[in-house]
Symmetry: C2
Subunit: 335 residues, 2 copies
Amino acid sequence: MTTGSPARAALIALDWGTSSLRAYRLDATGRTLDTRHLPWGIMRLPQPLQDGAATNALSGFELAFDQACGDWLRAEPALPVIACGMVGSAQGWKEAAYLDVPVDLERIGTLLTVVDRHGATPVHIVPGLIQRHGLPNVMRGEETQVFGVMFDQTGGNADSVLIGLPGTHSKWVNARRGRVTHFDTFMTGEVYAALRGHTILGRTMADAASADMAAFERGVKVAGAPAGRAGVLSTIFSTRALGLTGELAPESQADYLSGLLIGHEIAALAEMLRQQGDLPRIVLCGEPALCQRYILAMQHYGLETPEQAQNATERGLWHLAVCGGLVASSQTIPA
Amino acid sequence: MTTGSPARAALIALDWGTSSLRAYRLDATGRTLDTRHLPWGIMRLPQPLQDGAATNALSGFELAFDQACGDWLRAEPALPVIACGMVGSAQGWKEAAYLDVPVDLERIGTLLTVVDRHGATPVHIVPGLIQRHGLPNVMRGEETQVFGVMFDQTGGNADSVLIGLPGTHSKWVNARRGRVTHFDTFMTGEVYAALRGHTILGRTMADAASADMAAFERGVKVAGAPAGRAGVLSTIFSTRALGLTGELAPESQADYLSGLLIGHEIAALAEMLRQQGDLPRIVLCGEPALCQRYILAMQHYGLETPEQAQNATERGLWHLAVCGGLVASSQTIPA
């Protein structure tokens, strides 16, 4: 095909979670032309104005959407729009399905939920994933990152890959030959914030000028040591006790607690992998400083140093849009 | 000795923690004559009035103390006063020592810290305990309950007892022949409150008219099941996921989460006891409904049904006052 100016786009992709909204304008080869980061997560949308002159007040979702990409669409009205994340939850713009795991990755892109905007450009929402065997488990948004990692980093059909997505809720996703086969969730990030902000452990912490990685590693090691055998409900109290005995400075306590929690997560993960007799290739995808913490913990617990994936969300949204027929597959950058 | 009227007291005993203050008036045999429960924990004391007429404004501790037992002392000015709990912490009225574990119980009573009240009745504060081997651990207040349990329930010299003190911070205390030899802390109660009040798990919970003990037991079982092997940072997310799949009603989610947390605590405890080859007699001491939850979990994880101790704090304060020479030992009720 012939392309227009370099600034011409082929897709608008939205990563729309609980606390923020990222918008990407992608060209016909899947490259990012523009990115915007707005505070309009689905739990804190802009308030519609109650303006007497307006006969149809726009919803919070429409207002946020317009700020994210209204001008892009006015310049190129035919652009398709795809979105992933909590925007497809029951509290979102429109509820999108959960697909049952195991699931073929390509199937995810063919089951997009359409938000009908009454003549304006519709929004196609990516389904989440649900796992019903064992304890049930769900994800929304991470399936798109997995898609991006699998297609960009592993060529889609890698034999066995474990994809780690550290964050508020860490996900560890097993994928094999184009299928998501299993995943686990750890609430590590949110538990850390709750312990720090809303328990006695936060009372003795002081802000630090920079991260104390020695304190972090000390915490990591405790999780798998004999002293940590009572589990995380017990070891976290040592954050306070080590402070009372003068063995852990107030400025180091937050990083020590971070090490404890990530250490317990990775120690449990490593043990599960060993029980399965399966040490797959691991790809980590997330905020770089947080990934660095996970890598230290993985090294301590005998896991191989993982690869790190970049831009997985926008890459996943692009590949899903291709699967869903929103953009032509021949336009995709060759791997 | 000859006793006076039945209402004559021999000791004022205070259980003074972070969030509340309990005052006991005990007679010469250690029996409770009066009890008061005030909201004046050390973190929320009454505010001293800035009254221009008062040359010496009373501190928050003095004001709370006066409300708790000022009239008792005015009626019987010679009564000794003993106190335990966070009142002896660095944030308390006066910092009392931590005694190193292992420690002889009787020694605790001989090392009381005296708050000099400038001519008024002094207050004798019970020391806390500190454990420096392995991860450090501390207690303040629970040592007094242990004292009460050991002297009342076990005759002080039982061969090996494990005393469980469920609460905001659960303590499991090993005692043997009059000595505290080891203890563990689990932050189960405080973690429960933080998860419920300050994470996404609380968002889908609804208040229940009564406890759902079936949901509680379901949570207890998960902790030790194959589905729970990823540990508590992972299993807690099933509270939300089971709600999303319609398998757990909003009214049942808080009790399920309670079961998960207590289940992980007791599963870890049972495993540690088995590794030690030691299944001691267990005594449980705490709020009855909470103890009932712990008993269900202990039964599920193969521990014997524990005895339950009553009034351990006031009994402990009494025995400590005897050890410390504040009241005559010959006055104690025979066991």
